[in-house]
Symmetry: C2
Subunit: 138 residues, 2 copies
DNA sequence: TATTGACTCGTGTATATGCACGTATAGGGT
DNA sequence: ACCCTATACGTGCATATACACGAGTCAATA
């Protein structure tokens, strides 16, 4: 009916997410974590003192999703979730093993990121990132 | 450690996918389907005579994922999966109800798509799509 | 202080995603 | 006809995702 369905932003964004997630998961498999988990570790490295809800908002993620993802990382011994400022809030932080894991992955992350940067032209890397950020802010 | 973690393409792509998926799911809820399901219906409208594997490849999706997603649509009565050219291949096609559902959603899809097109500047809509397609092709 | 409304979180349920593994068929080459 | 490899598919498992619902907590105010 409508050929412009190929321009559907939902379709294209989800396809991109599947593709890059598969790629990342493959590269991370030897480390025992996946891309989603690496993203959470990175978020914790960059900012520790946030409640689960605040952290979820920063990741454009549902609160309950992050909560369960943190449980997985807790089971792996990479993250520790405890009480926050008051009795409601809960905070996550990296364990020593979590820090080590994260550091061990960084070189591979750098390689992968650089490879993507090289491959992206028209639009280039930064333009693509800008587009993704607009979408995240919906 | 590394502030450039904010430029992680995996993080940004996944965030975008979550955000736009939530948005689409919300708009589609009254219709009884979600964004992922709409994408599959659209793929079937545009090209019927493909095996599950071929269709999955076109959607940058794992074969088994598409297979299960088709089952959900089959249960909803929107899709019918049957044998293909030979005894191995299987093919999906829209049922009459599937066609009706798809047509009924198109106006809302148009509105939503147009709204996104308006909102996207720097980079604009087509540039963003181009970036997403590069990522999908990984 | 008691109450009310806003906030924070966990659990149940359904779907989406992909890998590992096994089964079945198709198409050659012997 | 027989095997062998490539192809196509389904199932089991683990994780990711989000909504609906309910429980516990905080803070303001009546």
């Amino acid at each position: 009916m409508d050929d412009n369905l190929n321009l559907c932003l939902v379709l294209n964004t989800r396809m991109a997410a599947r593709a890059i997630t598969r790629r990342a998961d493959g590269k991370l498999r030897p480390f025992g974590i996946n891309g989603a988990q690496f993203n959470i570790l990175a978020a914790l490295v960059m900012q520790q003192d946030r409640s689960v809800t605040e952290m979820a908002k920063a990741l454009a993620m549902d609160r309950t999703t992050l909560s369960r993802n943190l449980s997985v990382l807790e089971r792996k011994g990479l993250v520790s979730v405890g009480p926050g400022e008051n009795a409601r809030k809960r905070q996550a932080e990296l364990t020593k093993a979590g820090h080590k894991k994260f550091e061990s992955v960084i070189p591979e992350w750098r390689r992968s990121q650089e490879e993507l940067r090289q491959n992206l032209t028209n639009p280039d890397f930064m333009t693509t990132i800008a587009g993704l950020r607009h979408l995240s802010a919906l």
